[in-house]
């Protein structure tokens, strides 16, 4: 009932329907819907219609926005493949950011090696934050969704407290991380017309490959998938399902923590005191959903939502409300979520086609 072709077809149809909805809303509210396409094109390639030249700053910023989203998507996807919904990913991103920021500022390492250490610290913090729902789930059968949501808020308030008391912090931000500890690159900065593009993409590439390899090719991934599909069956066969559950949540947390570290080390270069979520973890849910929780899908999903995000300010400057980007993102998620309706129409069409052939 659900083959490989349909797995690709459904998200594609969802994207088309989402964009279509955006167009309809623009037309109904009497605005030029071509603005949507010119903005998307500009966001993706840096080409402005009717003007010569390419502004590489836009694709650069697209990458910057997309990188944490892909990591967020991998985080959600990894837990999901093991049968869990790690909605606490957001909190793990925050804790990854916090740990990376504190370590980067407080523990100076004089070489470029510092950036790698700070990344790992961020990943570790995310993993430890995810360990809490993991242990609660296996020992006390507490849903990872409930504990995860609560830990999101705990994480946010803890982070804003510590950002404020770091040496040199103002009420809104910390001092800059030492350059050694960041992923910033003068080279990328210069060739992309001063975008924030940084070495973080290497981290993302490594994570995507590892994600695919671990899940599809290793005995560890086999255990996780078995547990995710059928916990009783896996346990019956002798797999230690509790361990698989905790470990998959921790790996999911580590990926989220890396996304957090990337925000600190790459995108901003300092910690921000914030009492609202960045939504990298939450957006990861949409990315994973559209990407079907597989590695390539998550990468494409990440780019899709990244593009819609950076297109928003472009829409605004062209006189179209930025919220149209949110509407399209949300619509795509809805259309993927109701994939059975889409499948129903695909099957129906195929059936009538088949009958007319006879």
């Amino acid at each position: 009932m659900y083959n490989k072709k349909e797995k690709i077809l459904v998200p594609l149809i969802a994207v088309v329907l989402g964009v279509l909805l955006g167009i309809i809303i623009l037309v109904v509210s009497n605005r030029d819907f071509m603005v949507l396409f010119s903005s998307l094109l500009k966001g993706l390639t840096g080409i402005t219609l009717g003007k010569a030249g390419i502004n590489l700053r836009y694709p650069g910023e697209l990458m910057v926005t997309t990188m944490p989203l892909i990591l967020g998507g991998l985080s959600i996807g990894f837990a999901y493949r093991c049968g869990m919904f790690n909605i606490g990913s957001e909190g793990q991103v925050i804790m990854g950011s916090l740990a990376a920021c504190c370590f980067g500022i407080l523990v100076p390492i004089p070489t470029r090696f510092a950036a790698v250490v700070v990344l790992l610290v961020g990943a570790l913090a995310g993993a430890l934050w995810a360990f809490i729902p993991g242990i609660l789930k296996t020992k006390f059968n507490i849903s990872e969704v409930v504990s995860g949501i609560m830990l999101n808020y705990s994480g946010m308030f803890i982070a804003s407290y510590f950002y404020k008391i770091l040496p040199g912090s103002t009420t809104t931000r910390t001092v800059d991380l030492p350059v050694n500890a960041t992923l910033k690159s003068d080279f990328f900065y210069n060739i992309t017309n001063y975008s924030r593009l940084n070495w973080g993409f290497l981290v993302v590439i490594v994570c995507v490959i590892l994600y695919w390899f671990i899940i599809e090719k290793t005995t560890f991934g086999y255990k996780l998938r078995a547990t995710g599909f059928n916990k009783f069956g896996a346990k019956f066969a002798g797999i230690k399902t509790d361990r698989a559950t905790i470990l998959s949540l921790m790996i999911s947390g580590a990926l989220a923590g890396l996304a957090g570290a990337l925000l600190i080390q790459g995108t901003f270069g300092y910690g921000r005191v914030s009492l609202a979520f960045d939504n990298v973890g939450f957006d990861g849910i949409a990315v994973a959903l559209v990407g079907g929780c597989n590695a390539i899908g998550v990468v494409l999903g990440g780019f899709l939502f990244g593009l819609l995000k950076i297109t928003q300010p472009l829409l605004q400057t062209s006189g179209v409300p930025r919220e149209i980007g949110d509407i399209i993102s949300a619509a795509i998620v809805y259309f993927v979520a109701i994939q059975y309706v889409i499948l129903y129409f695909i099957h129906k069409k195929r059936k009538t086609k088949g009958e007319s052939k006879e």
Binding site: T218, T219, Y222, A226, F232, G233, K235, A237
Partner: protein
Amino acid sequence: MEYAIEMLNVTKEFPGIKANDNITLQVEKGGIHALLGENGAGKSTLMSILFGLYSPTSGTIKVNGKEVLITNPNVANDLGIGMVHQHFKLVENFTVTENIILGREPKGKFKTIDLKSSRERIKKISELYGFKVDPDAKIEDLTVGMQQKVEILKMLYRDADILIFDEPTAVLTPQEIEELLEIIKNLAHEGKTVLLITHKLKEIKACATKCSILRRGKLIKTVDVATTTEATMSELMVGRKVDLNIVKKPLSLGKNMLEIKDLVVTSNRGFDAVKGVSLHVKAGEILGLAGIDGNGQSELINALTGLAPIKSGSIIIDGKDVTNESIKTRFDIGMGHIPEDRHKYGLILDFSLKENFIIHDFEESAFSHHGILNYSNIDQYANRLIEEFDVRSGQGKNTLTRSMSGGNQQKAIIARELDRSPKLLIVVQPTRGLDVGAIEYIHKRIEAERESGKAVLLVSFELDEIMSLSDRIAVIHSGKIMGEMNAKDATENKLGLMMAGTEVTEGNANV
């Protein structure tokens, strides 16, 4: 002769397969008509057409002589056709009355639901057929047999005259089966027409008047049950002679492979479900454990295989005390387990066939190296098992096990467990819901294990299965062993008494 239902030249095609091929089925009013066929023969499709779940590709349907178009189940209901599905469709935390009136709630004053009058009516119908169902009981508190009666009441409440039963006995104990067959006979006596889908010949013999046999989508023959033997019917169904009688080679006993001593297991509801059970199984013999479902068998098996902790006592496999060992260790020592619930425990349904084959041994050097799976070895292994055990599926080793038939799913589990060549094989309800062909195959495989000197513990609710396979039979009742006897001394009567809780002392002469 007056027909309640006539399905004339009905054909139903699915992409690539003719599920029903020009079938003509005529059901006499007031009779019990059985529909016999192996899994996948087209019985369920045919009944789904009659119930309005599918529309036929061609052919006509007449109900009480009038040609009708049944486009959905509501139309079927209005025509007086009711169906009891194999998997009950009841709301667990509703009462019996609430479930029965669901969708047809009688309205009282101010459009409130008139529970009182419907309750009375349900009580009346229930008494008429001797159901003894409490209209106020919650479904979750009822036994499976009782739940089925609620499903039947639901049809009767809706004034159905034509009743379809889809494999109604698959989930019942021997006693409940007997009771159900009695009810079905009663219904026919009251003038209802019954269509019974089944592959159990004994039940057809016990109650049906006519029997239509389907094979591979075609109607093979409709026979008079009274004048046809079980052997003939099974031959018509399978298309060849089936031999369910097992010729047992003489025993050659080895040492104790399984010893259970004073085992006490607490159920997850908090009481002792296994109360001091002691059993042993020697190499080269099959010990059958008979008993009615729910007398501690599941808890005993869970304790043996390591799925659940035990309270006291000990379990020894091949001389090693495994009481506190992990599930994996027990498998590695030489236990094999064919579980009762193949969907919940036996298979990861969303895994491919090959992935299911390696579930115990994926960490062995044959299938992985340094934690990385070796897919070429896994593929080879899967191909070998598929061939050796004749596991049939759409896309071979890469088939999703969810899409396979029940019989082939069970074959896959048996292939996996037997190929590991376990010293002790624990088999629970191995043929539940399977057709005769598959049962024959599985019984022969189990017998072959015994012949090759393995110890087999067989737990089954089907007395026939226990009696034809076992060398020794133990009977469990409310967590205690009521007695043990050699299979040749066992009679259905004796075992039945013990299953009901009577200790039979003369049979206790032991090996």
